[in-house]
Amino acid sequence: MSIRFELRAQPSRTMVWLSPIIAITLTCCVAMVIFALAGLEPVSALATFIFSPLADLYSVGELLIKAAPLVLIAVGLAVGFRAGVWNVGGEGQLILGVIFGGFIALTFGPTGGVWVLPVMVVGGAIGGAIWAGIPAFLRTHFNASEILTSLMLNYVAQLWLSYLIFGPWRDPAGFNFPQSAPLAPSALFPTLIDGTRANASILIALVAVGLGWALMSKSFVGFQLKVTGLSEGAAKYAGFSAKRAVWIGMLAGGVAAGIAGVGEIAGPLGQIFPTASPGYGYAAIIVAFLGRLNPIGILFSGLLMSLLYLSGDVAQMSLGLPSSITGLFQGTLLFFLLTADVLIHYRLRATSAAGAPKGAANGL
């Protein structure tokens, strides 16, 4: 008696959505093992880990404010991922949004009116688009892998931001700390819910979900991108341009990440630090795949990933665990997701040693 994988006649639609649930369940199991090894009572520690970030309105606000950039970037990246365009430069594109938006805020914020914030958003979008446009250009003209170029540009962007904050943008009244002057009120997103830090950038994320859904599920451009991602040969035959798909895919991610960058400095931070992003550009990749590259799915996976960030803080404060536990659980979650995804195309089948199948396949 042994268990082997057998190709399904067609991909299982159920497993497409069941797989994230399996992954989450298995991640919880791993979490409990780690809690137990750390000498904590596993079940109650898990409960603390999951539920304490949701205990009060303020915490819910934190959940939303962290989910917003993740969802926004993930939707943008998903447009590219569906077309087979592997933009892993969300982090760098976010930082360019910080730099462009920050420049506008620092230059016009103190004197400008209500127009400052919209201009920052547009500026951030342009910054992200430029940074995403570089790999797109290299890919379409020299066939350079956008995975490598977009990834490397993340480090370039990070160094640019550090230069600005340690140099020209350093707050003269900041006791030599690496930070900019606080942004003017006209350069900040208004708060949505009193008593929380939840601000209007959440609405941008929701709009992105709506736009992403319309683009991917309803529009002909979205169909062309999907075809390009699934089959280069079919796209060529149909006359869908692969270069156009690269540009659209990269720019969608760049614009989304750039706006998310503005959301960070014009939101909870209210100031520009060299560490403007706690790795949102990378985490959004996990969010995108966890959400099945579907904007509605991304909405939920973004909330989940945001919960993991907050739980990391809880782990540090109430459970006495290091905050790097967040990264560990993120990685575990992605690992189990990719593993469980095998079951979309394959099913498990019990066989006897002789190789003859024994009965029908069971549930999976």
């Binding site: 529009s219 002909f220 169909f223 149909a238 006359g239 869908f240």
Partner: protein
């Protein structure tokens, strides 16, 4: 001559008893019995999907049967891998060759031999086997310089060096010119006379009747008959193969040709990769109500020509290709479709359709006009209705508009793809290998659809390796060889031998022959 199975004293080279093999969606082999005597040329006949390939893979050790016994020279045997099969003395020549283009004949063959021999010794053995069976091959030549027929020879020699007791040939003639087929048959008969058994997989009944002593006919994974093909009519065998009589296609042959709808003027195109074919100075013209067939052995520029016509390859000079008189060579596929040129690629899955997407979305692949897309948004109901029309009008079975394309059989998917293009009422249709790997019923339906489109005044270009198909539906036939196109010959002057010669690149010889035969027939 008595059939071998009636002779009890004789031992079979290979005997299969009750072989069964199931895949998730299909029972590929269902209690199959098969016997092959030493020195027998035995045909395994059946349509695509009848289970021929699975059965051969079981014999060659690539697939394990769920049930049943394999007897080799009378002894029960478990063949667990191709290496094991070769050790027993089973050789196989695949339909798609497994040769390294950049290596020489001797290097390719040395790679496949179980023992390590110096190249010189391998070359000597190649020459020995080659001369014995009349398979001329230079061991020092590189594969990429060889024609498909020559490559097949290399594959056969590779198998023969292992001194096989059984040679499996999988659709060996699909890549050969008629003359090369004759040469191959001579070799196979000599091999059989030397005691080597041959399992000959094919769906071409005429060839089987010319070559084989016995035939096992498969349908839907089951044996539906064993016969002596020399004594059966093609029709009787076809009935066993498809379970019904073959319908003839009806062609209203008297459509008067209209004005020129598609023209190519002196098209030349350098090969885009080292092993591609350079197109040189191709010109042709097709009128409305006319079918032009392009014959040729695959790899002689068919793919390049199709890409140039469909718009996947574009040209700077728009005048090279004209569609209804409009210069079109600088247009992309969607723009060409908008002015009336549709195309059907030879590769169904991965080009003509996307296996994981439902038929409705596959219909949208080439039907992105204002009917299906408004203001940039897809009109799902219209797209679905169009897919359902393709399914209904072209008799696509085994799927609805929501079924993934990959779940359909080859024939049904091809009917869907052809239907998708024809229902858009193109003025010009370019089709490559319309019935490749398609069952007989679907092939007839597709050819009929092409003729119906012709009757409506469209110009049709059919690129096909099946000469019989072109003889059936084409009004004129031209031959492509090494990237050059021969002048076309009108129906009524079709001559299998002349076309065969042209397929091997001998245009001058072919036209001389055709002249000669014309004079002769007058």
């Amino acid at each position: 001559m008595p059939l071998p199975e009636t002779d009890p004293g004789r031992q079979f080279r290979l005997e299969l008893r009750g072989i069964s093999k199931s895949y998730p969606a299909v029972r590929a082999n269902d209690r199959i019995d098969l016997t092959v005597a030493p020195g027998e040329i035995h045909a395994v006949v059946g349509e695509n999907g009848a289970g021929k390939s699975t059965l051969m893979k079981i014999i060659y050790g690539m697939v394990r049967p769920d049930a049943g016994d394999v007897l080799w020279n009378g002894r029960e045997t478990q063949i667990s891998s191709p290496a094991e099969a070769q050790r027993l003395g089973i050789g196989m020549v695949f339909q798609h060759f497994a040769l390294f283009d950049t290596l020489t004949v001797a290097e390719n063959i040395a790679l496949a031999l179980p023992e390590k021999l110096p190249l010189k010794a391998v070359a000597a053995r190649i020459v020995e086997v080659a001369s014995r069976y009349g398979l001329p091959v230079d061991p020092g030549r590189h594969i990429y310089t060889m024609s498909v027929g020559e490559r097949q020879r290399v594959e056969i020699i590779r198998s023969l060096l292992q001194k096989p007791g059984l040679l499996i040939m999988d659709e060996p003639t699909s890549v050969l010119t008629p003359q090369a087929v004759d040469t191959l048959f001579v070799t196979l008969r000599e091999l059989a006379a030397d005691g080597c058994s041959i399992l000959y997989i094919s769906h071409k009944l005429d060839e089987i009747r010319a070559l084989c002593e016995r035939a096992t006919i498969l349908r839907g994974g089951k044996v539906t008959g064993v016969c002596d093909p020399r004594r059966e009519s093609s029709n009787a065998m076809a009935r066993m193969m498809i379970g019904a009589d073959i319908q003839a296609i009806s062609s209203a042959r008297t459509v008067s040709a209209g004005s020129e709808r598609l023209a190519i003027h002196n098209l030349s195109l350098p090969a885009s990769d080292p092993f591609g074919t350079t197109l040189s100075d191709i010109s042709l013209s097709i009128r409305g109500g006319e079918v032009l067939g392009i014959a040729g052995v695959s790899g002689n520029g068919q793919q390049e020509l199709l890409a140039a016509l469909s718009g996947e390859t574009m040209f700077a000079d728009p005048q090279v290709i004209t569609i209804d008189g409009k210069p079109a060579a600088n247009l992309d596929p969607r723009q060409r479709r908008a002015i009336g040129l549709s195309s059907v690629p030879e590769d169904r899955l991965g080009r003509g359709a996307i296996p994981s997407l439902p038929l409705s979305e596959n219909a949208l692949l080439t039907n992105g006009g204002p009917d299906s897309v408004r203001g940039g948004f897809i009109r799902l109901d219209k797209v679905k209705a169009f897919a359902e029309r393709c399914i209904a009008e072209f008799g696509v079975r085994g799927g609805t508009a929501d079924s993934p394309a990959g779940s359909l059989s080859g024939g049904n998917l091809q009917k869907f793809i052809v239907g998708r293009e024809i229902l858009q009422a193109p003025g010009v249709l370019v089709v490559a290998q319309p019935t490749w790997g398609v069952d007989i019923g679907a092939a007839i339906a597709i050819r009929q659809a092409i003729l119906d489109l012709r009757a409506k005044g469209a110009a049709v270009l059919v690129i096909s390796e099946e000469l019989d198909e072109l003889f059936e539906i084409a009004d004129r036939i031209a031959v492509i060889a090494s990237g050059r196109l021969s002048p076309s010959v009108p129906r009524g002057r079709f001559d299998r031998d002349a076309i065969g010669l042209a397929m091997s690149g001998q245009f001058a010889a072919a036209s001389n022959r055709s002249e000669a035969s014309r004079v002769h027939s007058v």
